[in-house]
């Protein structure tokens, strides 16, 4: 699964009557105000709600006069550093580039549903798998109180389908950098579970509190959730759930997620430092019973964000570091991995905007991990007659490589730079270049089939707009 970025929504502008810039420096990155708006349950409205009260004067409904709907559309062109091997003809090459028109179309609902209750919900058509799916979604109840010491407390509960979707900062995975990775690209071997590894395959409540607009704490837990097209559901009843051994990677029971951060606002700057993490127990499934041993993933992360918001100039520097310990009891018992592995994920990105029109981005992402010859096979991936990932010995099978690691190590380092032109606040052109200095553990011939890390570089031209 890949996580889709959440977007700035014209629907919020319609609901609040405010310009996009109140909530966003550049979408989806939130300002201080945007963060407050989100944590408060998207309650701000333009005062035109439809309200019905009972004879006793009790409010029965208070909802926006116009449904807060929006469309978000992305279309992109991607060119790879070097064409991929052909999957049907040994020695031939595929096309070097591709266009996705559209790459993604999202229908969004965002805003107030009732007093203290709001939602951000997104249904996305994804041209890659050619499916509709539920994207980052959050339903939340929230309220604000003044404490006896006259400080402010905002608190609530958000039900979400991806850990960190409830979070107001853009340093955590659900709405983090890179906001728009190209879908026509070679994916690296591994990433921490908390980095959208279970996005839309889990759901759960996250309870949170924000004290004095500074100290934010959240705790929640996630359980396996029905995911539509990606799961066969329950073969006996034909229902989407409960799952059984026919489904792969099924989270077991309640899996905790936590978050703590502190924000300091001064002049036109704000600085956030925080920590977050999760612990997931996952049954491998896929032909194995959903009981007994699990694979256990413990993620602990730190993050920071530094924003400057001026009238002409906007700059943001942020980063996150995730360390994941993997205790792979189930997979190792099945002979599918080492007993333990680890991953680390480091990401930092700098954004500059001039007059909210011209933008420049530079980012660096590094994923490192332990060497695991079983989980990350060194032998080049095999294809036979346009079918890849076939077992050795399959008639007509030939090596293509690309997705494996010759040294069984997932380490991947990449630089990402972007030029952005925002013609209007809801229409943006992005030219993004991604350069890999290391891919799946190597710089040259990383797959043992002659492919270099830089062959997976991408040049990505993207048009995205919302209406």
């Amino acid at each position: 699964m890949c996580a889709h970025p959440a977007q700035a929504l014209p629907l919020f502008a319609r609901q609040t009557g405010m310009a996009c810039l109140a909530c966003h420096t550049n979408y989806p990155e939130l300002t201080h105000f945007g963060r407050m708006f989100k944590l408060q349950g998207y309650q701000l409205d333009d005062g035109k709600d439809i309200e019905v009260t009972s004879d006793e004067g009790k409010q029965l409904v208070s909802l926006p006069a116009i449904p807060n709907l929006a469309l978000f559309i992305m279309s992109g062109y991607v060119s790879l550093g070097k064409a991929l091997p052909d999957s049907g003809i040994p020695g031939a090459l595929s096309n070097k580039d591709g266009i996705q028109f559209p790459q993604q179309v999202s229908l969004l609902y965002g805003g107030k549903i009732a007093p203290h209750f709001g939602a951000f919900a997104q249904v996305t058509y994804d041209s890659g798998p050619d499916t509709f799916n539920i994207d980052n979604t959050d339903f939340r109840f929230a309220d604000t109180r003044i404490l006896p010491n006259k400080t402010k407390l905002t608190y609530g509960v958000a039900i979400t389908n991806n850990p960190s979707t409830e979070d107001p900062y853009n340093t955590t995975p659900a709405f983090g950098f890179p906001y728009v990775p190209p879908e026509i690209a070679v994916g690296s071997l591994a990433g921490p579970v908390i980095n959208a590894g279970l996005a839309y395959q889990v759901a759960g409540p996250v309870f949170y509190a924000l004290w004095n607009e500074q100290l934010y704490a959240a705790f929640g837990f996630f359980r396996a959730a029905e995911t539509g097209s990606t799961s066969p559901g329950n073969p006996i009843t034909g229902s989407p759930a409960p799952y059984d051994s026919g489904t792969s990677n099924v989270p077991a029971g309640n899996n905790p997620y936590w978050r703590l951060s502190y924000e300091y606002d001064f002049d036109r700057y704000n600085l956030e430092v925080g920590t977050y993490g999760s612990r997931f127990k996952i049954y491998p499934g896929g032909g194995n019973a959903l009981s007994g041993l699990t694979n256990n993933y413990t993620d602990v992360a730190g993050d920071f964000q530094f924003q400057f918001i001026g009238e002409q100039h906007i700059a943001t520097w942020k980063g996150t570091y995730v360390k994941e310990q993997q205790s792979l009891d189930a997979s190792s018992a099945l002979g599918l991995s080492n007993p333990t592995d680890w991953l680390s994920y480091t990401s930092t990105d700098f954004w500059y905007w001039y007059k909210r029109k011209y933008g420049f981005t530079l980012g660096y992402i590094s994923t490192k991990g332990s060497t695991d010859p079983i989980a990350y096979p060194s032998a080049p991936t095999l294809c036979a007659a346009n079918s890849c990932g076939v077992a050795p010995g399959t008639p007509g099978a030939f090596p293509v490589g690309v997705t494996n690691s010759a040294n069984s190590n997932p380490t991947t380092n990449q630089w990402i730079t972007e030029l952005n032109y925002q013609a209007w606040l809801n229409v943006r052109f992005t030219l993004q270049y991604t350069h890999y200095t290391k891919f799946n553990g190597g710089t040259t011939n990383y797959d043992g089939n002659g492919r270099n890390a830089s062959d997976n570089d991408t040049t990505y031209l993207l048009l995205w707009f919302a209406l």
Binding site: A13, A19, D46, G47, N270
Partner: protein, 222 residues
């Protein structure tokens, strides 16, 4: 001594003229203010907790210095500003980005009740700005506030906003306001992006270091 007396006299005259002008304009606003009924007051408190608090805090003590503190501000001034946001006659960038939308569908009754609510809240002391030698700035700012900058033709702020910066029936309260917000407004008033006939003239000759000094001084008052 003669060289400073004459400019001070001119500045005092200018300040008097400003007071007369502002008195005339605020009198119009005050006449238009609807009475605040108990029901309107209750609705205003609810609005403050749902809407205004996102920036200004539920009781008007904003935490982020981007947004002005409203607690203890003069009710006539809050009402006048809300009406200016709704009419889109206050046009500085933050007004356009935030308050135009917020105020667009507010009635005069709601505005008057909100103004009344915030004016009755107790203002907190602002947190001092970091990375600034506040003590030195405050000392210099106090001089700018009380004596103006005669060399540049800047009138003393205290002539209108009162010695304690608490404001009056014609001039808004400035005491305890976030320095960052005050500086932004002084820049907007100087450039004319925020139109206010009296302050456009007074902020015109004010240099940015003096703006900062007086802003830090005002922030330190409580």
């Amino acid at each position: 001594m003669k060289t400073t007396t004459r400019p001070l006299k001119i500045l005092a005259t200018l300040a008097s003229a400003a007071m007369a002008l502002v008195a005339a304009s605020t009198a119009i606003a005050q006449e238009a203010a609807p009475a605040v009924t108990p029901a309107a007051a209750e609705e205003a408190e609810n609005l403050a907790y749902v809407k205004c608090q996102l920036c200004h805090g539920p009781q008007g003590n904003s935490i982020s210095p981007i947004y002005p503190a409203l607690a203890g501000q003069k009710a006539w001034y809050i009402l006048e500003q809300l009406q200016a946001f709704r009419a889109q006659t206050r046009r500085d960038p933050y007004a356009r980005g935030y308050m135009w939308g917020i105020a667009s569908n507010m009635s005069d009754t709601q505005m008057a009740a909100l103004a009344d609510y915030f004016s009755k809240q107790t203002p907190f002391a602002s947190a001092p700005a970091p990375f600034v030698n506040v003590t030195a700035e405050v000392e210099r700012g106090k001089s700018v506030y009380n004596e103006g900058v005669p060399a540049n033709g800047v009138a003393p702020c205290s002539a209108c906003h009162q010695a304690d910066a608490g404001g009056s029936d014609q001039f808004p309260r400035l005491a305890g306001q976030h320095a960052s917000y005050l500086i932004k407004q002084l820049i907007a008033l100087k450039s004319g992006s925020r139109e206010q006939i009296v302050m456009n003239g007074i902020a015109g000759p004010l240099q940015e270091p003096d703006m900062k000094a007086v802003a830090f001084y005002l922030e330190s008052l409580h």
